[in-house]
């Protein structure tokens, strides 16, 4: 511990004795070489920093030694590069050897050597800044940009490749502090984009050799960018304005239609409500009143006739061969009917609409239109002739035709098929090939001869049988229109069937009315369908003695011509009511069917291919089973009639 301190004291004494002497003079302080630079790799300069001079005039000398050589040379030029510098010219500069340089400060008291420095000229190159910096504003598709160009320092020999320089430039807006740097490589031009319109830019450039130092920044070049309108911005402004405008319009529209929109989006939920049901009455506690309000007159049908009608009575008629065949085919028919139903498209979707009168009305109206014309034409004539024909072949067709108005359209309507598939109805002519025909046949037979179709129908109410007679005529007339198109296939069968049916129906008719008809049994009257008026009423005209009146007949007993289709009974017979002044025509269901058939035929007559008339009758009847129109009253809902033609 003591030793070091003693040594320190000794040193201090040594150093400070000169001072202690009282003189301010001392040998010069040690100079230091600050830097050596070569601007072009052909010459170089070294600068030094003089130390404290010690109070006396001090001279500085620079000595250098070349690599591996002991010869010491003194700086050839002290003045070119300024104070405290040494300039080595081209002859003294060699890139092949290192220089060992020392600066010596000398004054009267002594000299001090600086630390030596080794110099490799190649590595101390710091070029002069680039020259002739020019900046111009140029345009690229409406967008301005700056083009900066410069030249290398004139001393640097870049042309021969002696020095290779890379450049760097920096840009800033006037007033800002941050420079934007761009490295330009070895090229001497550069483009600057993304300018601010109307701004003033400061540009500077500098260079550097491969191995060396960056030069100083060149003098600043100023450039002002002219104002230009931001096209992009203007486009965006337009778009925004347009969008806002559309938005306003939409809002206004929404406001106007807010109510309807509300309905659309949030439809009002129907609360449970029973028509005629007054909640207040409930509160009052008078149940009688409440329930009385609920009672709908006429529903359920309380009349005995209705009840009877509701009963499905089938008149079973035993017909050998044909019936059995029909039975067999009936099943097929059933299927066919079903199929046909499914295949055809019906606006009404078939079954359900049967129940609604209005729908029936609509449908029938359509058929009626068609039927009227045909009806008027043929009715009178048909009855006579067709009796025979009917027996032969037309009957089934006719019925079919009438039944299916859409035969005109060439399609098999589903309507008939709806009613067809009653299991009992197997009375389809055996020869049927087409489903339509089968259906027709089936239906036809069913409609016409509800009882007679199969044995199962044995119990068919008499009215049906009755109808057969009637409808036969109707059918004739009607069939007249269509028959041509009908297939003659079934003729024989049909004939047989028809006859048998007729017979049966006749029989049945006799019987049926007993069951179905109201207490008042009346003789069957043959009624011809005169026409269908606007009110969807089938105008029936009674025919005397089962024979068609002929041409002149249609107008007989006009007063009795008005018949209303009351409904279709369970036998698939259309119950007609003939409105006659004071006279009530009690029609067998057969008649109803006839009318139905007629209407159908009327409608279908126009068309060649109508086929399903009788089924229509049946169909309607089947559909409207619940609506048994009492034959007694004779009122038949026209709607039910019209159901037939609609399909």
């Amino acid at each position: 511990m003591k030793k070091p301190s003693e040594a320190v004291l000794l040193l201090l004494l040594l150093f400070f004795t000169p001072h202690a002497k009282g003189t301010r003079f001392s040998p010069p302080g040690k100079p230091a070489l600050t830097r050596c630079r070569s601007p072009e790799k052909e010459t170089f300069t070294c600068w030094w920093e003089p130390g404290p001079d010690g109070g006396l005039t001090t001279t500085y000398a620079l000595y250098y030694r070349k690599e591996n050589s002991e010869a010491v040379y003194e700086c050839p030029d002290y003045h070119t590069a300024g104070e405290n510098s040494c300039f080595f010219n081209k002859n003294d500069t060699s890139i092949w050897v290192n220089y060992n340089i020392t600066v010596v400060a000398t004054n009267t008291l002594g000299s001090t050597f600086s630390d030596p420095v080794d110099i490799d000229v190649v590595y101390i190159v710091k070029p002069n800044p680039p020259e002739k910096l020019t900046v111009t504003v140029m345009e690229d598709k409406g967008w301005p940009f700056l083009r900066v160009s410069w030249e290398p320092p004139h001393k640097a020999d870049t042309r021969s490749g002696w020095i290779t320089l890379i450049y760097e430039l920096r840009v800033k807006l006037e007033g800002e502090d941050d420079w934007e740097m761009h490295l330009a490589g070895q090229q001497k031009t550069f483009n600057i984009f993304s300018l601010r319109s109307g701004g003033t830019y400061h540009v500077q450039v500098r260079c550097k050799p491969d191995h060396g130092f960056w030069s100083e920044w060149s003098s600043t070049s100023y450039i002002k960018v002219p104002d230009y309108f931001h096209r992009e911005k203007s486009a965006w402004i337009l778009i925004m304005v347009f969008t806002a405008f559309i938005f306003l319009i939409l809002t206004w529209l929404l406001h106007m239609n807010s109510h309807s929109l509300k309905h659309c989006i949030l439809p009002p939920v129907p609360g449970p409500k029973i028509r005629g049901f007054d909640e207040k009455l409930l509160k009052n506690g008078k149940s009688e009143d409440i329930f009385s309000a609920l009672v709908v007159s006429g529903f359920p049908p309380t009349m005995s006739s209705n009840c009877e009608d509701l009963l499905v009575e089938y008149l079973e008629v035993y017909v050998p061969d044909e019936h059995e065949l029909m039975l067999e085919e009936g099943k097929d028919l059933h299927d066919h009917c079903l199929k046909s139903e499914g295949s055809t498209s019906d606006n009404d979707s078939g079954r359900g609409s049967c129940d609604s009168h209005t729908l029936l009305m609509d449908k029938c109206g359509e058929a009626k239109e068609q039927g009227r014309q045909t009806e008027q034409e043929e009715r009178p004539v048909e009855t006579q002739r067709h009796q025979k024909e009917w027996n032969e072949d037309t009957l089934p067709y006719a019925h079919e035709d009438t039944v299916s108005p859409d035969m005109s359209s060439g399609r098999v309507k589903t309507w008939p098929s709806v009613f067809c598939p009653l299991p009992q109805y197997s009375s389809s002519p055996p020869n049927h090939t087409s489903s339509l025909e089968i259906a027709k046949q089936h239906c036809l037979s069913d409609s016409l001869f509800p009882p007679g179709s199969t044995s199962s129908y044995l119990t068919h109410p008499g009215h049906s049988t009755k109808e057969t007679l009637g409808p036969s005529r109707w059918e004739f007339s009607l069939s007249n229109k269509q028959p041509r198109s009908l297939h003659p296939q079934m003729q024989t069968r049909q004939q047989l069937q028809a006859r048998s049916d007729i017979n049966l129906s006749n029989v049945g008719c006799e019987q049926a009315p007993v069951g179905l008809l109201p207490p008042t049994a009346r003789p069957t009257e043959y009624v011809e369908v005169q026409r269908v008026n606007e009110e969807d009423m089938v105008l029936l005209k009674p025919v005397a003695s089962g024979r068609g009146c002929g041409d002149g007949c249609p107008r007989l007993r006009q007063a009795e011509d008005y018949s209303k289709v009351k409904g279709v009974n369970s036998d698939h017979t259309l119950l007609l009511q003939r409105e006659v002044m004071g006279e009530e025509a009690e029609r067998c269901p057969c008649q109803d069917q006839e009318t139905n058939g007629e209407t159908d035929s009327c409608i279908t007559s126009s068309t060649v291919t109508t086929t399903q008339k009788p089924p229509a009758c049946n169909y309607t009847a089947a559909a409207v089973q619940d609506k048994m129109a009492p034959t007694v009253s004779g009122y038949v809902d026209t709607a039910s009639i019209f159901t037939l033609p609609t399909y």
Binding site: P4, E67, N68, W96, N98, V117, D118, D120, Y123, G161
Partner: protein, 233 residues
């Protein structure tokens, strides 16, 4: 703590006393290229030197090629343009013991390569100076041509220095101050005919161009041998 401070103090004292010694003793042995630092290796490494010499030679050759093309275009009539060595005008360095064929070059040693280069360089210093003077006499010689030739002559001198240093480094030979062909190779004949004069100058330039290329090739071969001795052509 006291012991620590004590040792530190002793070291500081000795350092202060002995600082002059530090100057001479503390020489970095390995050379690192530190830019900005004033303390460099005492000597340039051999590889670096060779690279610089090669670069030098490349530049000289390139510039000489440019000058030759320029001269030919300006002064030499088309039919007389030299495509190959012609008997009329031979290069001044023809007499030098320089390997000329590829096989010779492959068998020559490094030492001889270097010496060949040195010979070439030294033999061309004077003719180039002469060329400069003659070109000045031309009426419409472009400045660029003159600059180029001057540049070449300057660089050639520098190259000579470099090769000398390289020889010294690589071959550990002493400085060769004497040139092989100080005299005798070149005569300053003043030819009366302009065309003759032009042709002579043209020959001079083209010969120099070839020799510069030779120098470059030798040096590059030398470098190749330094790195990979078996794959050099």
């Amino acid at each position: 703590m006291n012991s620590m401070t004590g040792t530190v103090a002793w070291r500081a004292v000795w350092a202060a006393l002995l600082w002059p010694c530090l100057l001479t003793a503390a020489m970095p042995l390995d050379c690192t290229e530190e830019q900005g630092s004033l303390y460099r290796c005492p000597s340039i490494s051999q590889e670096k030197l060779l690279d610089r010499v090669i670069q030098h030679a490349e530049l000289i050759y390139r510039v000489s090629e440019e000058s030759c093309a320029m001269f030919e275009e300006m002064f030499v009539p088309f039919p007389l343009r030299l495509q190959r060595n012609q008997a009329g005008y031979s290069c001044i360095t023809k007499a030098l013991p320089i390997p000329s064929s590829k096989s010779e070059i492959q068998h020559i040693s490094d030492k001889w390569l270097l010496h060949s280069v040195l010979m070439l360089v030294q033999s061309w210093i004077e003719p180039l100076v002469y060329l400069q003077t003659t070109l000045d006499r031309y009426e419409n010689a472009p400045d660029m041509l003159l600059n180029k030739t001057k540049w070449v002559s300057d660089k050639l001198i520098s190259l000579e220095q470099g090769v000398v240093v390289l020889i010294r480094k690589m071959l550990d030979e002493g400085m060769l101050t004497t040139t092989y062909n100080e005299h005798g190779l070149f005569q300053y004949d003043a030819l009366p005919d302009m065309l003759e004069s032009v042709m002579r100058d043209y020959t001079l330039i083209s010969c120099f161009k070839k020799d510069a290329h030779k120098m470059e090739v030798f040096l590059k071969l030398l470098k190749c041998r330094q790195s990979d001795n078996y794959n050099c052509a």
